[in-house]
Each structure stands twice: as C-alpha cells, then as structure tokens.
Point group: C2
C-alpha cells in the first residue's frame, strides 16, 4: 500500500461530518491545506497532543485503543475549554505499513470521531517510530471559553468521575495483574467530558482536565489564578477497585497517577444550586472536594486535622512523558 493509498484509506475509515451549526470545511483532504469557515461570533479553540509508542502507550496496546486515545486526549482538552469539537488534523508516523493495524487504529478513532462529531480534515503520514500527533479544533462563543485563571477564594473545587482508575489499571498491568474492566476502560478508552465541558460555560470560574493527575492539574489552576486550595481527601470519590485500599495506598494513584480524563473545575458557592441540577442531569458524577483559599498552596486534608503530602510534588510535577504548552 503506498502512502497515498494509506491516506485515502484513513479518509474513508474516519469519515465524519461535524455537527449541526458548524460551518463548512470548504477545502478538505487533498490540497495543500484545509480551508475552514467559522460561524460568526465564534472563537476557535486549538489543542495539540502527541502519543509516542513506548512512552504514552506500550507496544502491546490494541491499535483500536491507540486510535481512540490519541483523539480522546485532544478532545478532553477541548472539553476543558468548554468548546465544541469541529475538525481535527492528524500527523501519523508509522514504522511500517500494516493494513490490519491501520484499519483497527482508524476504527477506534472513527468511533470516537462519530460520537464527538469531529471531522478529520487533513494531516500527514510519514515513516518513522510510531507516534500520533493530533491537533483538534473546536468552537466556542466569543468570550465564553473556560480558562484556568478564573478561580477565586471561596470557590468550590469540583471533580468529575472518580480519579485513579487509569493509574490503577496501569499499575496492575505493570505487575501482570488483571485490572477491573472499569479501570482498564478508563486507561484504554477514556471518554472525554465534552457534554460536561459545554454545560460548564457560564458556571465554572476555572476548568482543566486532570490528565497529568489531580494534584498537578489543580495546581495549574491555582498558579494561574493566584490562589490556593484546601482539598478534603475524605470527599474524593474513589473507583470501586480502590474502595478497599487505605488512603495512603490509593491517594498516590488518585492525586498523581494521571491519565484520567476527568475535569476539575471551580465555581462560586452561589452557583451550588446549578451544580446540583447539573449533577442530577446525569451528565457526569460531580463531587465537591474542597474550596479555593486566599493563601497560596495546595492542602490535602485527611480530616483528622492532619494533611497528606503527595510523595511526588503536587502542582510542580511534570513527569517524563512530557508536558503540554496548553
């Protein structure tokens, strides 16, 4: 299969039109560049993330999971901005041409692209060590993007889902144990919180996805907002598989594990009724885990007047897998 056939194949396999109200991809795959018309009054939101084999996923990873996840991590960033996905561009570097691998990879990506209504609009295929870089483009009404810098003292700190699943699955796989289905799914097929992100427009004062771990990512909000936070670890929701663990055994996974594509956000306490309403809507499990403080620093309280200090530094933690400029 030539590189050109390979591109055509990807184009066929990942054939999704963007959702209603997203204006046209005037020129798509097959020219020097894609030409996109944005609807009036909308801002463009752009995120880019790379997955490298051996760094972000093992060489034993299912190709469908790799396809899903390389798109999911980017859509998760769009979710954290409150944006609606519209288009994406993929730079795929492949060590060899393997039609079976490619079809499964594309199928995993296509399923998520269809659910999220995001259209593959261009990219590049090249030979080299396996890696996937996706740049995802989303839209948001001007002035309504959820940023990291808006948290204020007194704001509630909320997390979606139950952090720790993906890190637990990864740890178990490393020990050749069998993870719970729920944990394995969180690791291999993370679901970006797009509907939640959209619902947080006008509600959240700051928002981030916790792909680098709750401690590190909440730390980004604190740093950019010039505030601190007190988190009550007793309130931190826990995946079923970790329910029997002691705090000291599960907190490292839950706070510093990373690879959870949940959202952490803050909102003024007067918005609590709207938050409860949102939780009741079933868009996601939402838990208030603490409060923004005037003092700098991130405090994890264990409830007996003591605090827990993650071994790996909290909001100054940047692990070996790299860090995003966004």
């Amino acid at each position: 299969m030539s590189e050109f056939d390979l591109i055509r194949r990807l184009q066929e396999l990942i054939c999704v039109e963007p959702g209603a109200g997203v204006a046209g991809c005037v020129v798509g795959i097959g020219d020097d560049g894609a030409v996109l018309d944005l609807p009036e009054g909308q801002s463009l939101v752009v995120c880019t993330d790379t997955l490298v084999e051996g760094v972000h996923f093992p060489d034993t990873a299912l190709p469908g999971s790799t396809g899903h996840k390389s798109l999911a991590v980017n859509l998760s960033d769009l979710a954290a901005m409150g944006a609606r996905p519209a288009w994406f561009f993929m730079a795929l570097t492949l060590p060899k041409q393997d039609a079976v691998w490619l079809d499964a990879f594309a199928a995993g990506m296509a399923d998520l692209a269809a659910t999220a209504r995001v259209m593959l609009s261009g990219g590049d295929v090249t030979s080299g060590p396996l890696s996937i870089t996706i740049t995802a483009l989303g839209l948001i009404e001007r002035g309504r993007a959820l940023v990291r810098s808006g948290a204020a003292p007194g704001d509630l700190v909320v997390v979606s889902g139950r952090p720790g699943s993906a890190a637990h699955a990864l740890e178990q796989l490393r020990r050749s144990e069998t993870p719970a289905d729920e944990d394995l799914s969180a690791l291999e097929y993370p679901v970006p919180r797009l509907a939640l992100g959209r619902s947080l427009r006008g509600l959240a004062s700051a928002c981030i996805d916790i792909s680098d771990g709750l401690a590190a990512d909440l730390g980004h909000i604190l740093e950019l907002s010039g505030v601190g936070a007190a988190i009550d670890l007793r309130r931190l929701p826990c995946p079923d598989s970790l329910a029997a663990f002691s705090g000291k055994d599960r907190w490292p996974l839950q706070l510093a594990g990373g690879d959870d594509y949940e959202l952490c956000f803050t909102l003024p306490p007067r918005m609590e009724p709207e938050l409860k309403e949102l939780a009741r809507s079933g868009v996601a499990e939402l838990t208030v885990i603490g409060e923004i403080t005037r003092d700098n620093g991130l405090l994890f309280e264990t409830g007996d007047g003591k605090t827990y200090q993650p071994k790996r530094p909290g909001y100054r933690h940047f692990d070996e897998s790299g860090g995003g400029m966004q």
Copy 2:
C-alpha cells in the same frame, strides 16, 4: 531542565506577534487550548507536516536548520493556498533534554517566525525519537484560497525559482561532496514563497508547492483538475550548479528530486500581462514552462519532437518519506 522549563524556554525564544490585521490570540500557551479570534470575512487555512530525524533530515543536521525547516515546510503549504500565516502549534518529541540543541533549534525557528509574522500559540513537548510536527494556521479572504483543482486547458504552467537545488545538494552530501552555497541553502533553509502566494490570489487558477518534486506535484493539479499538461523542458529554469549538466543528468533532480519549496501554478493566458508585471516586481523568478492540455497525462517535451519520461513515475510518485493528506 524540566519539560515545563523547556516549554517556557521555547515560548521565550519564539516570541512573535502575528501581523497587523490578524485578530487576537485571546488565550495562548498555558491553558488546555489556545483561543483564537478570526477577523470577520476570513477563512481559516490549516496545514500540518511532520519532520522525523533520519527520514526528513539527517542526525547531523544543524539544529537551526531543523527548526527553520520544520516551520518552513508548513508555511510553504500556506503560501500555496495564498494564505497569510497567523499562528502555529508545535508538537516536539525529543530523545533527551539538550539546552544547547534546543536554543539553536528555537533560534532557527524564531527567525523564520519573525519574518513570516507567525505566532507560536501552543503545542506539546514529549520524550521519544526526535520529530517535529507543526500545524500552521493562516487566514484568507473567504472564497479566495488557491486550490489545486482549478486548472483549465490552455492555462499557462508557471514555476517559481529554479527547481533542483535542494535535490542536488542532498545528492552531493550523500557522495561527501560539497554543495554550492545556493543549493545547500535551498536544502537547509528553504524560504517559503509567502509573498508570491499572496500575489497569486485572483490570478492563479491552481497552485501547489513542489515539495514532492515538480512532476509529482504538478501531477496533483492535473489529477484534481481533470486535465493534462505539456511541459517544455528547454524552458525549465536551472540552478547555476546544474547549468553544465546534460538534460538527462539534471531532469531527474529537477522533476522528481523534491524538497524544493517553490510554487507551481497555472493561470489563464489572458492573465499574461499581470504575470509579467508580477515577475518584474521581483517577488520571485517566474517562468512559463508549459501549458495545460485537454488530454490527460503529463508530457515532458525536450524540443526535438521527443519526450522525456522521468524514471521515477511522475504524478504517481510518493516516496518513502510519506505524503500529506494535503
């Protein structure tokens, strides 16, 4: 240096504001995504290209050249669309943290970014085998993008510059010979034809950059326009270093060599006065090398009633370094 410091360093080193009339980067590096406001009436043009060490550049390449070229190949695609560069996103995969390499890489990129008035607005830094993926965003007035599909029988075929320099330099380096400065510069510091691309709006009926070689890329125009072309090889302008070569020695480099970031475009014959005016303006050396034909196929005439057939197939050629979806 942590990955975070590395990002900050890149941000400092490649600090360019986009040109006048390009509206704001409302949220830049440091959030989940960049938020960009487009001026009214403009379409977005998006191009993405990857450079992998050992495939697109040797491990002996100067880091400044790698930085320059990874941005240049993307800006060349914007040029071929007639777009004005505005922002770019970089996914940088590095095998190790090497501040000296990074500074030189960033300096090469920053010089070109400053000339082109294009702003680094986000990205990702990760560890792994050295590769650089850039997604460049440009702007063009709605409906004015230069596409590949508009060539019509009778149109003139024009090429900018003198194709063959980069391929000649590459061949000489492989033979441990010393290329001419002009050729080496074309290979290591290609200059995207941005001003020319802008000038071709409303003039060219089709346009492409000839990064995969003149034969292959002109072939794309022909395929997408449903036409053929007759090229007079006696008119093909020749780099000084190839002037003493016989046709059969230089045509392979000039037609199939690739890595030339010149533009090939077509325009109706009635536009010839505008073309001459443009050539006189000095924006680029412009040469009419042939004509679009009704019959399919790409004919290279050598002037004695004979034709030349490139050994490597013309417009079906996709070399090992991969092919763009655009």
